[in-house]
Amino acid sequence: MYPIERVEALNPEVTRMVVRAPEIAKKIKPGQFIMLRIDERGERIPLTMNDCDAQAGTVTIVFQAVGATTMRLANMKAGDSLLDFVGPLGNPTELAGARRACVIGGGLGTAIAYPQAKWLYEQGCEVDVITGFRNADLVLFEDEINASSTRQIIMTDDGSNGNKGLVTQALQQRIDEGANYDLVLAVGPVIMMKFVAATTKPYGIKTLVSMNPLMIDGTGMCGGCRVKVGDEYLHACVDGPDFDGHLVDFDDAMRRGVMYRSFESAARDAVAGRMTSEGRDCGCASAHSDRKGA
């Protein structure tokens, strides 16, 4: 069992969770992920590391309550435990050697892009961080990124922070201003990563994207997470999750990403119904113990 040490809502949709996993905390690096399972009947879901503390023996994950499992997860409390927590999985992002980098986070992707920006900044790299959110209330990690970057540009879809537009517009502007990046790293929705890659391609800027396909085991055994890169399918869990953004077939990835959509909405509705009928505070805990006892 893996005890949860802290749970904190970062905004109405996004939760930060600190999990006790000393062995993983010693090893995990920016770009790597874990897979977790809440309980005996749970599914395995992949979540990328947001932060870790080898001394304290903890790994921090950040997630958005978008489906059945993440909704149940968001209702867990400090002192509860996760049944399974495995990692580090995947390869660390290849950041070494970058001198002028742009790290781009879309929505929740910001939580995953943050450790990379921090690592680069600590290595003396000049780091621009561009993040994008639907509105100003959803902005994540603003202070942390300010402390770990040369420049932070926050874009919102509705302009509620006075900076309306897409992350790619900010990226294009920085390129036009002569930012002269030798590395661009994009983490976020597939559609965003697709357009970041399209923006940098004419300039030949090395662009890494962190792919987020469906996963089952996360150890290279089932091929559920295959991503088309160039002419071949690679496995995001063992060959990735980062790939060359100029080689990834994003349309293929978007299509594969929705294969289980009907199952997901059914499961989400079931969990939402249960939480509403039992009250949001205790819904998960009682559902949790019900399942245990079944």
Binding site: R44, V86, L89, I216, D217, M221, C222, G223, R256, A270
Partner: protein, 494 residues
């Protein structure tokens, strides 16, 4: 003089084993073969003539003293029979169900020369199932067997089958990487010698392919759990959620965690694809994804369990091995109409005859001498069709198998909304990549000594599919047993 201590049953055919009705069972994941009753087991055991040459023992990769345990079954001494089986095999409930006995013990049975061989697998299964229902009597019989063995160590009948020498390994610590059949056997053998054994498994449940690969209707998962947990009783501990090569590498296990030796039994779990256009369409998956969702994650019980599994109405499974049969029968139970497409003919199918027969009984169709060329999809990216060509068999190739070649102009399209690829698997290169000085083949198979399973790294041993590529459960168990002997030899010289 009669060699048997009972009257031989002269029936030329095996006592039949009850099975679930094919139509009924194709709707559930319940175990198909129901096993013998005590009376049926005794009747079948009495078909063994206790022949002095004992070819069956040589046919068994772990060298179970088959006539000895069968004699005890024939006499109704089931606890004693179980103790004899267990002395040679760590997982009898598993092997009795999934071994290809027709090419092993039963394939060389003397009774098989004139009629059907003795149902050795069925009797092995019976003894272990009986032991699960009578744990105290079984434990007592095993304790007695151990005491006898310790008092008078008996060499193996043929001297060929590796048996761990009776050395005392207390105080020694061995890490076993992976928890499939090779690893579990190795762990069990070492624990018997007093060794402190830790099994490191990447997934959240132990058992390897027994847990995620072989379906419930052939090998019930609660049974795998019970058999594996018995190893825990004997001094084997498990660290789950532990991916060696990421969380620890082999050097750290030896240097930092202080293990005296390591056994690598990581299998061959990396999926292979068809390499055809459209194989990435939605509705298309490799067999291990389907089987992992259903077996490990219990997706057939969605939404009671959280993991979903997609099943179409018209499913094609490509391949002719046991995994293809497992995938086809699984898809059938999820409600699909299933056709197996195989590029050679029936005679070349690597799947067990019994599994093909079961699949046919359950209404699965076969298209032999057929090869997929291209998957077709709709605008939303879902698979709608599979273009195939007919094949004919040409001259035998270097391996002696007749090489299939395309029949010109024979292309046709099958309507499908689900495609399952069961065309083999490769070795995961993780251990090879993260272990300096470990000799591997270009296909990432670990190079190991045939007798001792020693690798190019002192103290590191390897066996099972990680060494020979995708093969059978019992071959992996044989390797695990040889590795335990090799490790015991290595540690006693330290």
């Amino acid at each position: 003089m009669a060699r048997t201590s009972y009257e031989v049953n002269k029936q030329k055919t095996m006592v039949p084993m009850p099975e679930l009705d094919p139509v009924e069972r194709a709707r559930t994941f319940d175990e198909v073969a129901r096993g013998y009753s005590a009376e049926e087991a005794m009747l079948e055991a009495r078909r063994c003539i206790q022949c002095p040459t004992r070819p069956c023992v040589h046919g068994c990769p772990v060298g179970i003293p088959i006539p000895d345990f069968i004699e005890q079954v024939a006499l109704g001494n089931f606890a004693r029979a179980y103790a004899i089986v267990k002395s040679a095999s760590a997982l009898p409930a598993v092997c009795g169900r999934v071994c290809p006995q027709e090419t092993q013990c039963e394939g060389v049975c003397t009774r098989g020369k004139n009629g059907e061989p003795v149902g050795i697998g069925r009797l092995e299964r019976f003894t272990s199932d009986w032991a699960f229902e009578h744990p105290q009597e079984a434990a007592a019989a095993i304790a007695q067997q151990r005491a006898e063995e310790a008092a008078a160590p008996v060499a193996d009948a043929d001297g060929e089958t590796a048996v761990a020498p009776y050395v005392d390994l207390s105080g020694k610590r061995v890490a076993v990487v992976g928890s499939g059949p090779a690893s579990l056997t190795c762990a069990g053998e070492l624990a018997k010698l007093g060794c402190d054994v830790t099994v490191l498994e990447a997934l959240h449940k132990p058992g390897g392919v027994l847990t995620y690969g072989i379906p419930e209707f052939r090998l019930p998962k609660d049974l795998v759990e019970r058999e594996v947990s018995k190893l825990g009783d004997s001094g084997v501990s498990f660290e789950l959620n532990t991916l060696v090569g990421k969380l620890y590498d082999i050097d750290e296990l030896l240097d930092e965690r202080g293990f005296d030796a390591v056994f690598v039994g990581t299998g061959a779990g990396l999926p292979a694809y068809l390499g055809i256009e459209g194989e990435g369409l939605n509705g298309s998956m490799v067999a291990s994804e389907l089987l992992t969702r259903v077996n490990l994650m219990k997706a057939y019980q969605f939404p009671e369990y959280d993991t979903p599994v997609y099943a179409g109405k018209r499913c094609v499974v490509v391949g002719g091995g046991n995994v293809a049969m497992d995938a086809a029968r699984t898809a059938k139970r999820l409600g699909a109409d299933v056709t197996v497409v195989y590029r050679r003919s029936r005679d070349e199918m690597p799947a067990r005859a019994e599994e093909v027969h079961h699949a046919e009984q359950e209404g699965i169709r076969f298209q032999m001498l057929t090869n997929p060329k291209r998957a077709l999809g709709n605008d939303e990216g879902w698979i709608t069709g599979l273009e195939c060509v007919r094949m004919e068999l040409g001259e035998p190739d270097a391996s002696g198998r007749r090489r299939p070649q395309e029949v010109a102009g024979s292309a046709f399209v099958m309507d499908v909304d689900m495609l399952v690829m069961a065309v083999g698997s490769k070795t995961n290169p993780l251990i090879a990549k993260t272990t300096p000085g470990l000799e591997v083949t270009p296909r990432s198979l670990i190079v190991a000594d045939e007798r001792t399973c020693a690798t190019s790294r002192p103290g590191v041993f390897a066996g099972g599919d990680a060494v020979i590529g995708a093969a059978t459960v019992i071959l992996a168990m044989g390797a695990g047993k040889r590795a335990a002997a090799g490790i015991a030899e290595y540690l006693s010289q330290q």
